[in-house]
Protein backbone atom coordinates (compact mmCIF):
# COMPACT_ATOMS: atom_id res chain seq x y z
CA UNK A 1 0.00 0.00 0.00
CA UNK A 2 2.75 2.41 1.05
CA UNK A 3 4.82 1.57 -2.04
CA UNK A 4 1.82 2.02 -4.29
CA UNK A 5 1.09 5.43 -2.76
CA UNK A 6 4.74 6.48 -3.17
CA UNK A 7 4.64 5.47 -6.82
CA UNK A 8 1.44 7.44 -7.46
CA UNK A 9 2.74 10.53 -5.65
CA UNK A 10 5.89 10.26 -7.78
CA UNK A 11 3.75 10.21 -10.92
CA UNK A 12 1.87 13.30 -9.74
CA UNK A 13 5.08 15.14 -8.91
CA UNK A 14 6.67 14.21 -12.21
CA UNK A 15 3.71 15.76 -14.01
CA UNK A 16 4.34 19.16 -12.46
CA UNK A 17 8.16 19.03 -12.40
CA UNK A 18 8.74 20.98 -15.60
CA UNK A 19 6.07 23.53 -14.70
CA UNK A 20 7.70 24.09 -11.30
CA UNK A 21 11.18 24.49 -12.81
CA UNK A 22 10.05 26.87 -15.58
CA UNK A 23 8.13 28.98 -13.03
CA UNK A 24 11.37 29.86 -11.22
CA UNK A 25 13.55 30.69 -14.21
CA UNK A 26 12.33 34.16 -15.08
CA UNK A 27 15.70 35.26 -13.75
CA UNK A 28 18.90 33.41 -14.47
CA UNK A 29 19.82 30.73 -11.95
CA UNK A 30 22.51 28.07 -11.70
CA UNK A 31 21.69 24.50 -10.79
CA UNK A 32 22.12 24.62 -7.03
CA UNK A 33 20.56 28.08 -6.59
CA UNK A 34 17.48 26.77 -8.41
CA UNK A 35 17.27 23.76 -6.08
CA UNK A 36 17.34 26.10 -3.10
CA UNK A 37 14.78 28.44 -4.65
CA UNK A 38 12.43 25.50 -5.24
CA UNK A 39 13.06 24.18 -1.73
CA UNK A 40 12.11 27.60 -0.31
CA UNK A 41 8.67 26.86 -1.75
CA UNK A 42 8.68 23.31 -0.30
CA UNK A 43 9.22 21.93 -3.80
CA UNK A 44 11.74 19.13 -3.22
CA UNK A 45 13.81 18.03 -6.18
CA UNK A 46 16.98 15.93 -6.25
CA UNK A 47 20.08 17.40 -7.89
CA UNK A 48 20.44 14.19 -9.88
CA UNK A 49 17.01 14.85 -11.39
CA UNK A 50 17.27 18.61 -11.88
CA UNK A 51 20.68 18.93 -13.56
CA UNK A 52 19.96 16.59 -16.48
CA UNK A 53 16.46 18.09 -16.77
CA UNK A 54 17.91 21.60 -17.21
CA UNK A 55 20.06 20.37 -20.09
CA UNK A 56 17.12 18.64 -21.74
CA UNK A 57 14.90 21.73 -21.46
CA UNK A 58 17.67 23.81 -22.98
CA UNK A 59 18.03 21.34 -25.84
CA UNK A 60 14.28 21.64 -26.44
CA UNK A 61 14.69 25.42 -26.70
CA UNK A 62 12.71 26.19 -23.54
CA UNK A 63 15.74 27.50 -21.65
CA UNK A 64 18.76 29.59 -22.58
CA UNK A 65 22.08 29.15 -20.87
CA UNK A 66 25.31 31.07 -20.42
CA UNK A 67 28.65 30.24 -18.80
CA UNK A 68 30.06 32.68 -16.25
CA UNK A 69 33.35 32.65 -14.43
CA UNK A 70 32.68 32.93 -10.68
CA UNK A 71 35.54 32.52 -8.17
CA UNK A 72 37.77 30.95 -10.83
CA UNK A 73 35.12 28.39 -11.60
CA UNK A 74 32.85 28.04 -14.63
CA UNK A 75 29.20 28.10 -13.69
CA UNK A 76 26.31 27.59 -16.05
CA UNK A 77 23.28 29.82 -15.67
CA UNK A 78 19.87 29.00 -17.05
CA UNK A 79 16.95 31.29 -17.87
CA UNK A 80 13.61 30.75 -19.56
CA UNK A 81 13.62 31.54 -23.31
CA UNK A 82 10.88 33.30 -25.28
CA UNK A 83 9.67 29.93 -26.54
CA UNK A 84 9.78 28.63 -22.97
CA UNK A 85 7.67 31.57 -21.74
CA UNK A 86 4.99 30.83 -24.34
CA UNK A 87 4.98 27.16 -23.42
CA UNK A 88 4.95 27.97 -19.72
CA UNK A 89 1.91 30.26 -20.10
CA UNK A 90 0.02 27.60 -22.04
CA UNK A 91 1.07 24.83 -19.63
CA UNK A 92 0.12 26.93 -16.60
CA UNK A 93 -3.33 27.54 -18.09
CA UNK A 94 -3.77 23.80 -18.66
CA UNK A 95 -2.65 23.05 -15.13
CA UNK A 96 -5.01 25.61 -13.61
CA UNK A 97 -7.94 24.32 -15.59
CA UNK A 98 -7.06 20.75 -14.61
CA UNK A 99 -6.73 21.81 -11.00
CA UNK A 100 -10.14 23.52 -11.02
CA UNK A 101 -11.69 20.46 -12.65
CA UNK A 102 -10.12 18.10 -10.12
CA UNK A 103 -11.23 20.29 -7.19
CA UNK A 104 -14.80 20.21 -8.51
CA UNK A 105 -14.61 16.45 -8.99
CA UNK A 106 -13.35 15.82 -5.50
CA UNK A 107 -15.52 18.43 -3.72
CA UNK A 108 -17.65 16.78 -1.07
CA UNK A 109 -16.45 13.35 -2.12
CA UNK A 110 -14.95 12.36 1.22
CA UNK A 111 -14.66 8.59 1.18
Amino acid sequence: MKELLEGLVLELRRGVLILGVLSQLNQKEYGYSLIQKLQDHQFEIEAGTLYPLLRRLEKQGLLESSWELIDNRQRRYYQISEEGKQLYTALKKEYQSLNTMMNQLMQGEEL
Binding site: L10, Q36, G48, T49
Partner: protein, 325 residues
Amino acid sequence: MNLIQIYVNEVVKYLPRQLKAEVKIELTSQIMDMIEESEGDEKAIQSILEKMGSPKDLADRYLNKEKSLIGPRYYDTYTMIVRIVMFALVLAFSVTFAMKLIFSQEITGWTILEFPLSLFNAAIMGFAYVTIIFALIERNQVKIEDEDVVSKSWSVKDLPKESIELPTHRIENIFEIGFVSILMFIINFQPQIIGIYSAVVNQEESVWTITPILNDATRSVWIIWVNVWLILMLISGVIKSIYRLEAKHRILLSTFFDFLALVMFVFMIATQNIFVDNVAGLIAPGNESFELLVNRGSFTFLVVILTISMFDILRKLIKVLKQST
Protein backbone atom coordinates in the same frame (compact mmCIF):
# COMPACT_ATOMS: atom_id res chain seq x y z
CA MET B 1 42.28 11.76 -7.97
CA ASN B 2 39.55 13.02 -5.65
CA LEU B 3 36.13 11.51 -5.16
CA ILE B 4 34.31 14.16 -7.19
CA GLN B 5 36.58 13.68 -10.21
CA ILE B 6 36.17 9.90 -10.00
CA TYR B 7 32.39 10.23 -9.75
CA VAL B 8 32.15 12.67 -12.67
CA ASN B 9 34.46 10.51 -14.82
CA GLU B 10 32.32 7.49 -14.06
CA VAL B 11 29.16 9.40 -15.11
CA VAL B 12 30.60 10.62 -18.42
CA LYS B 13 31.89 7.13 -19.19
CA TYR B 14 28.27 6.16 -19.92
CA LEU B 15 27.62 9.20 -22.13
CA PRO B 16 28.18 9.60 -25.86
CA ARG B 17 31.29 11.47 -27.00
CA GLN B 18 29.52 14.73 -27.89
CA LEU B 19 28.11 15.11 -24.35
CA LYS B 20 31.18 14.08 -22.33
CA ALA B 21 33.21 17.32 -22.19
CA GLU B 22 30.32 19.66 -21.43
CA VAL B 23 28.67 17.45 -18.82
CA LYS B 24 32.05 16.94 -17.14
CA ILE B 25 32.58 20.69 -16.63
CA GLU B 26 28.98 21.42 -15.71
CA LEU B 27 28.50 18.51 -13.32
CA THR B 28 31.81 19.24 -11.54
CA SER B 29 30.77 22.86 -11.10
CA GLN B 30 27.29 21.86 -9.84
CA ILE B 31 28.71 19.40 -7.31
CA MET B 32 31.23 22.02 -6.14
CA ASP B 33 28.33 24.47 -5.59
CA MET B 34 26.58 21.92 -3.40
CA ILE B 35 29.74 21.17 -1.46
CA GLU B 36 30.40 24.85 -0.78
CA GLU B 37 27.00 25.08 0.86
CA SER B 38 27.73 22.08 3.06
CA GLU B 39 30.58 21.62 5.52
CA GLY B 40 32.75 20.33 2.71
CA ASP B 41 34.27 17.39 4.58
CA GLU B 42 34.65 13.88 3.14
CA LYS B 43 31.41 12.67 4.73
CA ALA B 44 29.43 15.58 3.30
CA ILE B 45 30.88 14.90 -0.17
CA GLN B 46 29.95 11.23 0.10
CA SER B 47 26.43 12.11 1.17
CA ILE B 48 26.00 14.55 -1.75
CA LEU B 49 27.27 12.01 -4.29
CA GLU B 50 25.04 9.29 -2.89
CA LYS B 51 22.04 11.59 -3.19
CA MET B 52 22.96 12.21 -6.84
CA GLY B 53 22.61 8.48 -7.47
CA SER B 54 24.85 5.91 -9.11
CA PRO B 55 26.93 7.24 -12.05
CA LYS B 56 25.00 5.05 -14.46
CA ASP B 57 21.61 6.22 -13.17
CA LEU B 58 22.67 9.85 -13.48
CA ALA B 59 24.07 9.29 -16.98
CA ASP B 60 20.73 7.71 -17.95
CA ARG B 61 18.97 10.91 -16.94
CA TYR B 62 21.22 12.96 -19.21
CA LEU B 63 20.16 10.83 -22.13
CA ASN B 64 16.86 11.06 -23.84
CA LYS B 65 15.17 7.97 -22.53
CA GLU B 66 12.64 7.68 -25.32
CA LYS B 67 12.86 4.22 -26.75
CA SER B 68 14.68 4.19 -30.04
CA LEU B 69 16.24 1.55 -32.23
CA ILE B 70 19.75 2.72 -31.28
CA GLY B 71 19.79 5.25 -28.48
CA PRO B 72 22.30 8.06 -27.87
CA ARG B 73 24.44 5.94 -25.52
CA TYR B 74 25.59 3.57 -28.25
CA TYR B 75 25.03 5.71 -31.33
CA ASP B 76 28.62 6.88 -31.85
CA THR B 77 29.98 3.31 -31.39
CA TYR B 78 27.32 2.12 -33.84
CA THR B 79 28.29 4.64 -36.53
CA MET B 80 31.98 3.82 -35.96
CA ILE B 81 31.37 0.08 -36.47
CA VAL B 82 29.18 0.67 -39.53
CA ARG B 83 32.06 2.72 -40.98
CA ILE B 84 34.58 -0.07 -40.21
CA VAL B 85 32.32 -2.68 -41.84
CA MET B 86 31.76 -0.52 -44.93
CA PHE B 87 35.49 0.19 -45.25
CA ALA B 88 36.31 -3.52 -44.91
CA LEU B 89 33.71 -4.41 -47.54
CA VAL B 90 35.08 -1.86 -50.02
CA LEU B 91 38.60 -3.19 -49.33
CA ALA B 92 37.47 -6.80 -49.87
CA PHE B 93 35.59 -5.73 -52.98
CA SER B 94 38.61 -3.92 -54.45
CA VAL B 95 41.02 -6.78 -53.76
CA THR B 96 38.74 -9.55 -55.05
CA PHE B 97 37.79 -7.47 -58.09
CA ALA B 98 41.48 -6.88 -58.91
CA MET B 99 42.23 -10.60 -58.43
CA LYS B 100 39.36 -11.58 -60.66
CA LEU B 101 40.61 -9.21 -63.37
CA ILE B 102 44.14 -10.64 -63.11
CA PHE B 103 43.28 -14.34 -62.84
CA SER B 104 40.08 -14.69 -64.78
CA GLN B 105 40.54 -15.96 -68.29
CA GLU B 106 37.34 -14.49 -69.58
CA ILE B 107 36.20 -11.07 -68.57
CA THR B 108 32.61 -10.58 -69.60
CA GLY B 109 30.20 -7.72 -69.06
CA TRP B 110 28.54 -9.78 -66.34
CA THR B 111 31.87 -10.14 -64.47
CA ILE B 112 32.17 -6.35 -64.39
CA LEU B 113 28.53 -5.85 -63.36
CA GLU B 114 28.51 -8.70 -60.83
CA PHE B 115 31.05 -7.04 -58.54
CA PRO B 116 29.28 -3.73 -57.81
CA LEU B 117 26.08 -5.72 -57.29
CA SER B 118 27.79 -8.03 -54.79
CA LEU B 119 29.26 -5.00 -52.99
CA PHE B 120 25.80 -3.44 -52.80
CA ASN B 121 24.29 -6.66 -51.42
CA ALA B 122 27.15 -7.09 -48.94
CA ALA B 123 26.77 -3.47 -47.77
CA ILE B 124 23.06 -4.00 -47.09
CA MET B 125 23.83 -7.28 -45.30
CA GLY B 126 26.62 -5.76 -43.17
CA PHE B 127 24.50 -2.72 -42.29
CA ALA B 128 21.55 -4.94 -41.34
CA TYR B 129 23.64 -7.25 -39.15
CA VAL B 130 25.31 -4.41 -37.24
CA THR B 131 22.00 -2.56 -36.82
CA ILE B 132 20.21 -5.67 -35.53
CA ILE B 133 23.04 -6.43 -33.05
CA PHE B 134 22.94 -2.86 -31.69
CA ALA B 135 19.14 -2.83 -31.56
CA LEU B 136 19.21 -6.01 -29.45
CA ILE B 137 21.86 -4.55 -27.12
CA GLU B 138 19.81 -1.35 -26.80
CA ARG B 139 16.65 -3.32 -26.09
CA ASN B 140 18.36 -5.18 -23.27
CA GLN B 141 19.94 -2.09 -21.78
CA VAL B 142 17.09 0.44 -21.81
CA LYS B 143 15.42 0.60 -18.45
CA ILE B 144 12.42 2.81 -18.04
CA GLU B 145 13.17 4.21 -14.64
CA ASP B 146 11.35 6.71 -12.55
CA GLU B 147 12.92 10.17 -12.72
CA ASP B 148 13.13 10.50 -8.97
CA VAL B 149 14.15 6.99 -8.07
CA VAL B 150 17.78 6.92 -7.05
CA SER B 151 19.38 3.48 -6.79
CA LYS B 152 19.13 2.82 -3.09
CA SER B 153 21.74 0.12 -3.17
CA TRP B 154 24.42 2.40 -4.62
CA SER B 155 27.09 3.83 -2.34
CA VAL B 156 30.21 5.95 -2.86
CA LYS B 157 32.19 2.85 -1.82
CA ASP B 158 31.16 1.33 -5.16
CA LEU B 159 33.25 3.91 -7.03
CA PRO B 160 36.61 2.66 -8.33
CA LYS B 161 39.81 3.86 -6.61
CA GLU B 162 40.59 5.88 -9.69
CA SER B 163 38.81 6.44 -12.94
CA ILE B 164 40.73 6.22 -16.17
CA GLU B 165 39.47 7.58 -19.47
CA LEU B 166 38.68 4.73 -21.78
CA PRO B 167 39.68 4.88 -25.43
CA THR B 168 36.80 5.18 -27.89
CA HIS B 169 38.04 2.09 -29.72
CA ARG B 170 40.86 -0.44 -29.71
CA ILE B 171 42.83 -1.37 -32.77
CA GLU B 172 42.29 -5.13 -32.26
CA ASN B 173 38.52 -4.64 -32.24
CA ILE B 174 38.72 -2.72 -35.51
CA PHE B 175 40.78 -5.55 -37.05
CA GLU B 176 38.43 -8.22 -35.70
CA ILE B 177 35.30 -6.54 -37.09
CA GLY B 178 37.09 -5.72 -40.36
CA PHE B 179 38.34 -9.31 -40.74
CA VAL B 180 34.86 -10.78 -40.13
CA SER B 181 33.34 -8.34 -42.67
CA ILE B 182 35.93 -9.25 -45.32
CA LEU B 183 35.36 -12.97 -44.71
CA MET B 184 31.59 -12.45 -44.92
CA PHE B 185 31.94 -10.72 -48.27
CA ILE B 186 34.25 -13.34 -49.76
CA ILE B 187 32.39 -16.41 -48.47
CA ASN B 188 28.99 -15.12 -49.53
CA PHE B 189 29.75 -13.31 -52.75
CA GLN B 190 33.15 -14.33 -54.15
CA PRO B 191 33.90 -17.82 -52.74
CA GLN B 192 35.77 -18.85 -55.89
CA ILE B 193 38.56 -16.45 -54.84
CA ILE B 194 39.47 -18.90 -52.07
CA GLY B 195 41.44 -21.49 -53.98
CA ILE B 196 44.72 -22.73 -55.28
CA TYR B 197 46.41 -20.37 -57.69
CA SER B 198 48.54 -22.04 -60.32
CA ALA B 199 50.10 -21.07 -63.59
CA VAL B 200 49.61 -23.44 -66.50
CA VAL B 201 52.07 -23.08 -69.36
CA ASN B 202 50.14 -23.45 -72.55
CA GLN B 203 51.84 -22.95 -75.95
CA GLU B 204 54.59 -20.79 -74.46
CA GLU B 205 52.01 -18.67 -72.70
CA SER B 206 51.39 -19.05 -68.99
CA VAL B 207 47.77 -18.86 -67.90
CA TRP B 208 46.75 -18.44 -64.27
CA THR B 209 43.99 -20.63 -62.99
CA ILE B 210 42.16 -20.72 -59.67
CA THR B 211 41.08 -24.10 -58.34
CA PRO B 212 38.42 -23.38 -55.69
CA ILE B 213 38.88 -25.30 -52.46
CA LEU B 214 35.40 -24.60 -51.06
CA ASN B 215 32.93 -27.35 -51.81
CA ASP B 216 30.40 -25.88 -54.19
CA ALA B 217 28.20 -28.99 -54.21
CA THR B 218 27.36 -28.75 -50.48
CA ARG B 219 27.49 -24.94 -50.32
CA SER B 220 23.74 -24.47 -49.84
CA VAL B 221 24.02 -26.24 -46.45
CA TRP B 222 27.37 -25.10 -45.05
CA ILE B 223 26.90 -21.45 -46.04
CA ILE B 224 24.18 -21.11 -43.36
CA TRP B 225 26.47 -22.43 -40.61
CA VAL B 226 29.42 -20.35 -41.77
CA ASN B 227 27.22 -17.24 -41.64
CA VAL B 228 26.00 -18.12 -38.14
CA TRP B 229 29.64 -18.51 -37.08
CA LEU B 230 30.58 -15.15 -38.65
CA ILE B 231 27.60 -13.41 -37.01
CA LEU B 232 28.65 -14.80 -33.60
CA MET B 233 32.15 -13.40 -34.12
CA LEU B 234 30.67 -10.06 -35.24
CA ILE B 235 28.48 -9.90 -32.10
CA SER B 236 31.52 -10.60 -29.93
CA GLY B 237 33.53 -7.87 -31.74
CA VAL B 238 30.69 -5.35 -31.32
CA ILE B 239 30.31 -6.11 -27.60
CA LYS B 240 34.06 -5.68 -27.04
CA SER B 241 33.85 -2.25 -28.69
CA ILE B 242 31.10 -0.95 -26.40
CA TYR B 243 32.99 0.58 -23.52
CA ARG B 244 29.83 1.94 -22.00
CA LEU B 245 28.80 -1.53 -21.00
CA GLU B 246 30.15 -2.36 -17.57
CA ALA B 247 33.57 -4.04 -17.95
CA LYS B 248 32.49 -7.28 -16.27
CA HIS B 249 29.29 -7.46 -18.27
CA ARG B 250 31.20 -6.73 -21.49
CA ILE B 251 33.86 -9.40 -20.92
CA LEU B 252 31.31 -12.03 -19.88
CA LEU B 253 29.05 -11.40 -22.86
CA SER B 254 31.84 -11.28 -25.44
CA THR B 255 33.44 -14.43 -23.96
CA PHE B 256 30.08 -16.20 -24.15
CA PHE B 257 29.79 -15.33 -27.86
CA ASP B 258 33.45 -16.27 -28.45
CA PHE B 259 32.67 -19.65 -26.92
CA LEU B 260 29.56 -20.09 -29.08
CA ALA B 261 31.62 -19.15 -32.16
CA LEU B 262 34.24 -21.72 -31.20
CA VAL B 263 31.61 -24.45 -30.74
CA MET B 264 30.10 -23.48 -34.09
CA PHE B 265 33.56 -23.62 -35.72
CA VAL B 266 34.22 -27.13 -34.38
CA PHE B 267 30.74 -28.21 -35.47
CA MET B 268 31.30 -26.84 -38.99
CA ILE B 269 34.66 -28.47 -39.44
CA ALA B 270 33.48 -31.78 -38.01
CA THR B 271 30.15 -32.16 -39.78
CA GLN B 272 30.05 -29.96 -42.86
CA ASN B 273 31.83 -30.68 -46.12
CA ILE B 274 33.12 -27.14 -46.51
CA PHE B 275 36.29 -28.03 -48.38
CA VAL B 276 36.60 -30.12 -51.49
CA ASP B 277 38.02 -33.61 -50.96
CA ASN B 278 41.71 -34.16 -51.44
CA VAL B 279 42.92 -30.54 -51.57
CA ALA B 280 46.53 -31.79 -51.58
CA GLY B 281 45.76 -33.93 -54.60
CA LEU B 282 44.64 -30.82 -56.47
CA ILE B 283 47.95 -29.10 -55.76
CA ALA B 284 50.26 -32.02 -56.45
CA PRO B 285 48.41 -34.97 -57.98
CA GLY B 286 49.83 -38.39 -57.08
CA ASN B 287 52.24 -37.09 -54.42
CA GLU B 288 51.24 -39.14 -51.38
CA SER B 289 53.82 -37.73 -48.97
CA PHE B 290 52.67 -34.19 -49.80
CA GLU B 291 49.07 -35.28 -49.24
CA LEU B 292 50.00 -36.65 -45.80
CA LEU B 293 51.89 -33.47 -44.98
CA VAL B 294 48.94 -31.26 -45.94
CA ASN B 295 46.45 -33.40 -43.99
CA ARG B 296 48.60 -33.50 -40.84
CA GLY B 297 49.52 -29.83 -41.22
CA SER B 298 45.88 -28.70 -41.46
CA PHE B 299 44.94 -30.92 -38.50
CA THR B 300 47.78 -29.46 -36.38
CA PHE B 301 46.78 -25.95 -37.46
CA LEU B 302 43.19 -26.61 -36.32
CA VAL B 303 44.34 -27.99 -32.96
CA VAL B 304 46.57 -24.93 -32.41
CA ILE B 305 43.70 -22.52 -33.26
CA LEU B 306 41.30 -24.37 -30.93
CA THR B 307 43.84 -24.46 -28.08
CA ILE B 308 44.59 -20.75 -28.39
CA SER B 309 40.85 -19.93 -28.46
CA MET B 310 40.17 -22.09 -25.41
CA PHE B 311 43.02 -20.46 -23.48
CA ASP B 312 41.76 -17.01 -24.47
CA ILE B 313 38.25 -17.85 -23.20
CA LEU B 314 39.64 -19.24 -19.92
CA ARG B 315 41.88 -16.18 -19.46
CA LYS B 316 38.88 -13.85 -19.81
CA LEU B 317 36.77 -15.89 -17.39
CA ILE B 318 39.57 -15.81 -14.80
CA LYS B 319 39.79 -12.02 -15.29
CA VAL B 320 36.06 -11.67 -14.55
CA LEU B 321 36.34 -13.96 -11.53
CA LYS B 322 39.23 -11.87 -10.19
CA GLN B 323 37.18 -8.68 -10.66
CA SER B 324 34.27 -10.22 -8.77
CA THR B 325 36.34 -11.11 -5.74
